[in-house]
Symmetry: C2
Subunit: 220 residues, 2 copies
DNA sequence: GTTTGTGAAACGATTCACAGCT
DNA sequence: AGCTGTGAATCGTTTCACAAAC
């Protein structure tokens, strides 16, 4: 098969979200140009992204909204439901538990773990928080682990998650994780995004003052 | 003027986090290879990233941890503190408020807004939730707006944020935002990350080849 | 000896442009 | 006519490789 970049997959998710919205609004057909405009990319990009997986459009007409929706759901593996375990019942964990949108998209949080004995046994959104010590056994049948523990604990937790044969991890700890090649990891790092904004702000200011436009001295 | 990619800036943040950790552990000197290994990238990438901003190392020796730390803080604009407003006091907002790490990195949440009259006036982590209607006036002096409102409300909020002359936005709404060119936007989209994991899982099952990836994990 | 800084090469992703359907 | 699908061209990023510095 072919190699598909992560950015293509990310865009497919964005396309799918728009299509779902349009379908609810009764739109039945859509051209790549309009899809691109609404998703912040280009028509050629849309067509190239889709071309990795097949041909879904009708020349002269565009794409059928329900058909493309189904195709994207299939490509992204959203035709089934995924069993998700949340590890770490702190603030981030609480926000995730409450965020019902995940369930709507096919991700069911079916287990919650925490290392704090004071939290273990309490009920949370209909789930009883389990002991961290039970991770290995209780992760049977789990597809995706959400790691929402402090950075210092993350690698240890991940090692145990991997040992339990979970092959996908959504990581909220601001740290690099070592995992075997067959395990997929996505990291959400809000501090990093904020620092990107900080850079943009100072850089805009520096650029306006043209401080950086001075030619570099001859290099040695 | 130099053009630096967003991935370079993201990596600089990662380098800085490691350096801060190493400095606390008393490490004084570090070579690009070791920095790269600990951050999941390559030595050449580290040196190229830094080279956009100057020369910071000593040949034959490596980098001074405190000096490079200071340099990175300067590049990323972290030598000052930033005034952040949180718009939307729901679950995500609550998690962000509680996440003290932002403050430690120089980002102070100094105002909170919500559209729900039941929430307005309540105190939250030492801040009184303000009326959404007061956004325009109360955003004076704010550097960064965190948008944590439903997708359907996000563009409207963003328009008002931009009108209030805020030039950086951290967006948690799963929707495309239109902003003028001089406004920087970073989006955090957890559903999208989960769908990326879903794709990885079904794709592995389908026996397809690996997705091209960024600073992937795993090395030995 | 070691390690940096950097042009040049290699690689990967995006955009172009047009043939081929509807 | 309008729009897709795709090879070719372009653009940007990463890796290579080595001279210069310590």
């Amino acid at each position: 098969m072919k190699k598909v970049s992560e950015s293509t997959i990310a865009r497919l998710s964005v396309y799918l979200r728009l299509l779902t919205e349009l379908a609810a609004a009764g739109v039945t057909t859509l051209a790549s140009g309009e899809l691109a405009r609404r998703c912040g990319t280009s028509a050629a990009q849309v067509r190239k992204d889709l071309s990795f997986f097949g041909t879904f459009g009708k020349r002269g007409l565009g794409y059928s909204v329900p058909e493309l929706t189904e195709a994207l759901r299939g490509i992204l593996g959203l035709e089934r439901r995924w069993r998700v375990a949340l590890i770490g019942a702190g603030k981030i964990g609480a926000a995730l538990m409450a965020y019902q949108d995940f369930r709507r998209q096919g991700f069911d949080i079916v287990a919650v773990f925490d290392a704090d004995p004071a939290r273990v046994g309490t009920e949370w959104q209909g789930l009883v928080i389990q002991r961290d010590a039970d991770l290995e056994t209780s992760l049977q049948g789990i597809d995706i682990a959400i790691v929402a523990v402090p950075a210092s604990a993350a690698q240890g937790v991940v090692n145990r998650v991997v040992a339990a044969d979970v092959r996908a991890i959504l990581n909220f700890a601001p740290t690099k994780l070592d995992v075997p090649e067959h395990v997929a990891v996505k990291t959400v790092n809000m501090a990093l995004e904020l620092e990107g904004l900080s850079y943009a702000l100072v850089n805009e200011a520096r650029g306006a003052r043209r401080v950086t436009s001075r030619p570099a001295a001859s290099r040695g």
